[in-house]
Symmetry: C2
Subunit: 148 residues, 2 copies
């Protein structure tokens, strides 16, 4: 049996690589990538401070990039990997894109779409928890520095 | 008593001017403007088809433009005028921006944030119904053409 390289973990690590870019820019570390057929077609990391724009979340940029790559606004055959549960803005964008699958690492109990309100498309498959500890740790360390 | 020029209706008409631009590009006609101190600092109209990007709603573009103008991501002293009730994506963006006031024309019973889920910031004032008939008529005519 051939070794499966393109696992969910492989792609989630790529989302974490994006989160690391955000961290290096002193942004809240969240990263996202959009994948179709084992190919990464969109990447993004949080840039709300750099761009002074609340809409510059990781997922929004990854969605825009993936749509530009595909030349179409629907992401039905795509999976988005994101290091934190999407907020209701990003869930709304994912709803409109009809994305096939959302895999997110840590839950966001305060600002995630499940508590803030909002929804994904009814056909979207959702998986959570992959590498969640790494995301939580990264975010906690970031906010501890900010308070320190 | 001096005549008040800068009424809500004055600014809503500007939002409708944006919706007309969308219509001219065969986009679902929705427009938005962001105002602070009687000055329009952000404009946007729906461009989801032209840009093949689900995030290209009128409000998102107006928010990004206003933030760029201000050099800051918060729109606490601003009002956004929009011709249709925001969806949950746009409501989420408005939440993060902490916008002072939202004035929207027509309700969106299917895809508005009040039915789809999502929320505005608790400090945001909301007014609805100004020139609602014009918005509803514009949207109905657009969709009738699409079906025709």
């Amino acid at each position: 049996m051939p070794l499966e390289i393109y696992t969910d973990e492989y792609f989630m690590k790529q989302a974490f690589a994006e989160a690391e870019y955000a961290l290096a820019k002193d942004e809240i570390p969240v990263g996202a990538i959009v994948v179709t057929g084992h190919k990464i077609i969109g990447r993004g990391h949080n840039l709300t401070e750099q761009l002074t724009d609340v809409t510059a979340h990781a997922e929004m940029q990854a969605i825009t990039a993936a749509s530009a790559y595909l030349g179409g606004k629907y992401l039905r055959d795509c999976t988005i990997y994101v290091t934190l549960e999407p907020c209701s803005m990003c869930a709304g964008a994912l709803y409109w894109s009809q994305v096939g699958k959302v895999v997110f690492a840590a839950p966001d109990e305060k600002r995630g779409y499940r508590s803030m309100g909002g929804q994904l498309h009814p056909k979207t498959i959702v998986e959570e928890g992959l590498m969640a500890a790494r995301s939580t740790q990264m975010l906690r360390a970031f906010f501890a520095t900010k308070r320190g």
